[in-house]
Structures are given as C-alpha cells and as structure tokens.
C-alpha cells in the first residue's frame, strides 16, 4: 500500500480559487513548501463539484486528498460547495479547508456549521502567506492522518 506524500506518491490538492494571482501565489508557496504536492485548480464552485464527481471532462482526475476552498466564488458560492461536499457520503471525508480574505465572524461561524475542517484567513503580507502555507503543509499534509479507503479504489468513486 502506498501513502500520499510518502514514497514519492503525490498529494492531490484541489484549490478552488477564482483569482489567478492568488492561484499563482498559492502554487509558488506550496512549491517552496513541498515538492510532492500535485496542485489541481478550478476557478468556480460548479467546476469544483464537477471535478469531485468526475463529470464534464473531469472523468480521469484523481480524487483529491485535500481541498482548499475560497468562499466568494462565481457561479456557485464556496459555502454551497462546502455544503455539498459535507453532505455527500463519498466526499465528506476529504478534509476541506476554507482559505479566504474574509475575517467576518459570520463567515467563520457559517463555515464551521457547514463542517469545514478549518477556517484560515489569507494574510495580507506575502511573508505571512508563505508562513501560513508552510504550516498547512506541516500540519495537514505531514502530521494529519488522512483517510485512505477511497484511495484504494483506484481514485474512482464507488
């Protein structure tokens, strides 16, 4: 059995983010932090659900080990994406982290109500953003044990 992040097996990370600038910053920061990360990017909520359900040209994408989700997204809002993931029997075990510029209490509460695994605010300073990405990597991708059972089915939804 192979484990993501170990033995050279890539960690599949889905980033749901509509700002290309943020996508690139995140990509740069994760590259610094961990070469083993395979970053997949979708730019709106509808695409995110299609990706997770292998629909609309996403038939052959892997099931992500980990999701970084922005709240304010075009077409389908991040909150709605979160609600769908966390009420879907096959998706709800994927750790889903909210990464947003919002610091509003209402957004934080709502996200946890919808079972977000954690809520992170994007720091304004680049240095701090780098620190944040490193700590995501250190905690969620190195320390945390991620569920493996779905992976055993070759990345296919049963």
């Amino acid at each position: 059995m192979k484990f993501p992040g170990k033995d050279g097996v890539a960690i599949e990370l889905l980033l749901v983010e509509d700002s290309p600038g943020d996508v690139r910053l995140t990509r740069e920061a994760f590259q610094e932090a961990n070469k083993n990360i395979q970053l997949h990017v979708v730019s709106d909520g509808t695409e995110a659900i299609a990706f997770l359900r292998h629909e609309n040209g996403y038939a052959h994408v892997p099931r992500p080990d980990f999701i970084l989700l922005d709240l304010n997204l075009p077409k389908m809002d991040g909150r709605e994406v979160l609600r769908i993931i966390k009420t879907d029997e096959h998706l709800k075990t994927i750790p889903t982290i909210i990464l947003t510029t919002s610091v509003a209490e209402a957004d934080i509460v709502k996200s946890y109500e919808l079972q977000a695994n954690c809520f992170l605010s994007k720091p304004i300073q680049l240095d701090e953003f780098d620190v944040l990405v490193r700590s995501i990597n250190d905690f969620w991708l190195k320390r945390v044990k991620l569920p493996q059972q779905a992976k055993n089915l070759d990345g296919k939804i049963p």
Binding site: S19, G21, D22, L25, E28, I124, Q125
Partner: protein
C-alpha cells in the same frame, strides 16, 4: 301708582334737610332726580360739572336734553306695567347710555335708577357715572385682543365660546357670530375640552393651573373641515360668571413644517454619514485585494530577482515594494477606523489590565527593539469593547515607543477614579513631546507632524484612538511639551456605572 311699591316717607323739597343736600352734593357721581313727566327736579354739583350746565339751566328741563335716549323710555310705563315696575327691574343694575353736554359733545355713562315716592308723585333718582375712562380701557383691551397675532378664544366652564378675536375668525374660517355660543369642540376636536373638565378629584381651576404657561399641541379644525396643527396656552379668569378660560391659539403649521424639514435633513445627514462610512469600509476592503496582488508580486519579484538584474531594477523594485506596503498599512488603518465607526458598540465588563497586556504582547517586537520599559499599577475592570480597548492601548503605547528620544522609552499607564463612576486613564512617556499648537491637529485624519524619514506612520493612529474614546463616551486629551514627553488621557465607565 302701583300698590305693591313699598310706601316710603315723602320728601318735602321745600323743607329739605341741609345735611341731606350736603350728602347729595358730596356724591362722587352726578345725581339727578326726575319726575314722572321726565323733567329734572333736582341735581347736584357733579351733574352740573359733567354736563356743563349751570344748575338753573337744568332745573325743570327735560331729561332728554342731557340723556337723549333710553332714560325717558325707562320712565314711561308700557301698556302693562307701571313706571315703578319698569324701574324696579332696573334697580341695582347699571345701564349704559350716552350723556350729552351743553356743548353737544357726548360721553358714555352708566346710570343706576331708584324710584322715590314723594308728595309730588313717583320721582326717579338717577346716579350717573361718567364711564369714559372705563370705556376707553375696554376698547384698549378689545383692541389688544383684536390685534393679538394669535387666535384668542374665551370659553366658559360648559365649553362654550363666549368671546373671540379677529384672528380666531380668520384661522378657523368662521364669522364671529357663527362661533359665539358654540362648543369649543367644533374648532378644537380633541384635547381641549378634556383639559377644561375637572376630573373627580380636582376642580377645573386646579386642572387648568397645571396647564398654565405650557404650550399644548393639538389639532384645530376649520369650518371647511380641514385641520391644522395648533399650540394653545390656557389661562383661567375668575369672573362673576364663573371660571372662564382664555385660550391663545397659535397656528404652528409653519413651525411643524420646519421641524419636519429639519428632522428630514438630520435624517438625510445621518444617512449620508452612514453611507460615507460604508463607502470608506467597502472601498478600503475592496482596494485591499488588488493591492495585495501588487504588493505580493513586487515582493516576489524582489525575492527572486534581487541582484540578478541591474542596480536600477533593484532600486525600482524596492520603491514599488515600499509603496505597496505603505499603502497596505494605510488601507488597514482606514478599514479599522471605519470599522470602529460602523460597529455596533457592546460594552462589557473588561479587565483593562488584560487589555493592556494584550496590547503589549502585540507590541513585543518594538518593545524589545527599543528597550522600552512599560510600567503600570494594577488596572481596574471597566465597561468597554475589548478589542477596541486593546487597540487604544496599543496605539498610544506604540506611539510612546515610536516617538522616543535617544533615551530608552519609559511608558507609564495609570488609572484613577473620577466623577460619575468613571476611570481616568493616563499614558505618559519620556518621548519627544508635542508643541501645544499641534494638540488639535494630531487627532485629525492623515495628520502627521514628522517626515516619513524621521518616523513612519499613516497619520490615522490617533484618529482611531479618538474614535475609540468617543465610542466609549469620552474624549481624548493630550498634555505635552516639546522634549518633555507626553501624556494622553481618556476615561472609561467603571463596572458599577451605566455605560
């Protein structure tokens, strides 16, 4: 002669008692005695004076010569009653008539009649008073009433209108006669009558006394049914007919319109203020995003290409990074400023000591770098918004450290109890101090006293402090002298007091 006129002792004029005559002469009013045919048979000195005749000119003359109308008629019995009967009805009642002097001029008189049985038949004694002065005064009062700029209405205890002025006619659109005797309710439908009527425990006068001098706002109704706002002032007058109430009624349509216009304007100002705060918030929030891109990517550029291009490129990138960072702190301060203005304020019991500790934790880097010493006595619990209080301490202590001299900064935080259950906080330092002329300026938005090379900053920090203090029901003051350090003070409500 009627038999029911009580018999009186006949007067013998020929043998008239001198003392009686003296009494007659001394009377302050003109006295005239008239016989049944209306001829004057006796008069006194006052009568001569009032009418301008000599006594002999009047004796035997017809009373009509000096009182042209009304008097003679009162003497003559109509078909069914005798002159005495007619007179009896008048006895004790003052009758207002007109007197005519020898020179033809006329003047108002009041006469009191009394019958007198004598050997020469029934005589009538008339006491005649010149009431010119009273009439004049009355007409002055009448003029005053009519000239009053407000509608004036006098109402009796039954709520009926007994007197009104021209303005009352105008304001309510009635003719005077239409209103006289009418219920005041027909022009002031609600509230007025209630104020007149005594409740079980107090009299109308008492009830009124409470209203005196107070303007009461009610609604007036015109004859055409239209209504308008009025203010009435009531005052009771005690008369022989009972307590009357004078109501001065002012049409306050214009004032009401002005008031509502003012209220509208205030409302509009509040709204535009709110919109402005909202705008500042949204603008700074939305500016933050693209700016984060500019700042992040210029920093990324710097990080990756430092020393790999030429010296110019390094310098240019340096300026771009610096500018972007500065703009970020400006926008963050602006955001904080507008957030403090728009936030709903909930004051809770807060340990000001913990708030200070949190502020010092946030400042730990600059405290360490500057070797600052921050000392304080135990600080009280207060009613405050916790995060804002932390920010207030952080900005003030931060300033004390930033604006330091060559010496290591020493900052002291003190609290002492003052009036109204409030605590006075003072933050003193040994820094560079501020000239008195700048005391007002430093709390203004974007106001800076120093070049960026000297001290960095956005010029919003103290504006934020002032806003936080204001939202805690206080101002913020400064005491300072150039080179002698500064003390910033504000107050906070104690936990025992109402916020």
């Amino acid at each position: 002669m009627s038999s029911n006129v009580p018999a009186r002792t006949p007067i013998q004029f020929s043998g008239y008692d001198e003392r009686c005559r003296a009494l007659l002469e001394a009377a302050p009013d003109a006295m005239v005695v008239v016989n049944e045919s209306g001829k004057i048979v006796l008069l006194n000195l006052q009568a001569e004076k009032q009418f301008g005749y000599l006594r002999d000119e009047l004796l035997g003359q017809a009373i009509k010569n000096i009182i042209p109308e009304g008097f003679a008629e009162r003497l003559v019995a109509d078909g069914t009653r005798s002159a005495a009967e007619a007179l009896e009805q008048q006895i004790g009642t003052g009758i207002e008539l007109v007197g005519r002097c020898k020179d033809g001029s006329e003047f108002p008189i009041e006469i009191m009649l009394s019958p007198l049985d004598s050997a020469e038949g029934v005589l009538v004694t008339a006491a005649i008073r010149n009431i010119s002065k009273r009439k004049h005064a009355e007409s002055m009062y009448r003029g005053l009433l009519e000239a009053a700029p407000d509608a004036m209405v006098v109402v009796n205890a039954a709520g009926k209108i007994v007197l009104l002025n021209l303005q009352a006619e105008k304001q309510f659109g009635y003719l005077r006669d239409e209103l006289l005797g009418q219920a005041v309710k027909s022009i002031i439908p609600e509230g007025f009558a209630e104020r007149l009527v005594a409740d079980g425990n107090r009299t109308a006068a008492e009830a009124l006394a409470q209203q005196i001098g107070m303007g009461i706002e009610l609604v007036g109704r015109r004859k055409n049914g239209s209504e308008f706002p009025i203010e009435i002032m009531l005052s009771p007058i005690v008369t022989a007919e009972g307590v009357l109430v004078t109501a001065a009624i002012r049409n306050i349509s214009v004032r009401k319109a002005t008031e509502s216009k003012l209220a509208e304007t205030v409302q509009g100002l509040k709204r535009s203020n709110q919109e402005l705060e909202q705008f500042a918030y949204v603008a700074s929030h939305d500016l933050q995003e693209p700016l984060r891109m500019v700042a992040s990517y210029t920093q990324l550029l710097g990080r990756r290409y430092q020393g790999r291009l030429d010296a110019d490129a390094d310098e240019f990138i340096g300026f771009a990074v610096d500018g972007a960072k500065r703009m970020q702190s400006l926008i963050q301060d602006l955001l904080m400023f507008s957030r403090i203005g728009t936030q709903k304020m909930v004051l809770r019991e807060t340990s000001s000591e913990s708030a200070l500790q949190q502020a010092l934790t946030n400042l730990r880097v600059s405290i360490a770098e500057s070797n600052a010493l921050v000392i304080h006595e135990p600080l009280p619990d207060v009613l405050a918004n916790g995060p804002q209080l932390v920010q207030l301490f952080q900005n003030l202590v931060g300033n004390s450290i930033k604006y330091r001299t060559a010496k290591a900064p020493r900052v002291e935080v003190k609290a002492s109890q003052v009036a109204g259950g409030r605590w006075l906080f003072a933050i003193s330092d040994n820094g560079i101090g501020i000239e008195k002329v700048h005391f007002d300026r430093i709390f203004g938005m974007f106001q800076r006293l120093h070049g960026r090379e000297e001290f960095s900053g956005t010029g919003i920090g103290l504006a934020i402090c002032q806003k936080i203090a204001e939202r805690h029901g206080s101002g913020i003051t400064v005491e300072s002298e150039l080179g002698q350090g500064s003390t910033f003070s504000f107050t906070l409500a104690g936990t025992g007091s109402e916020p």
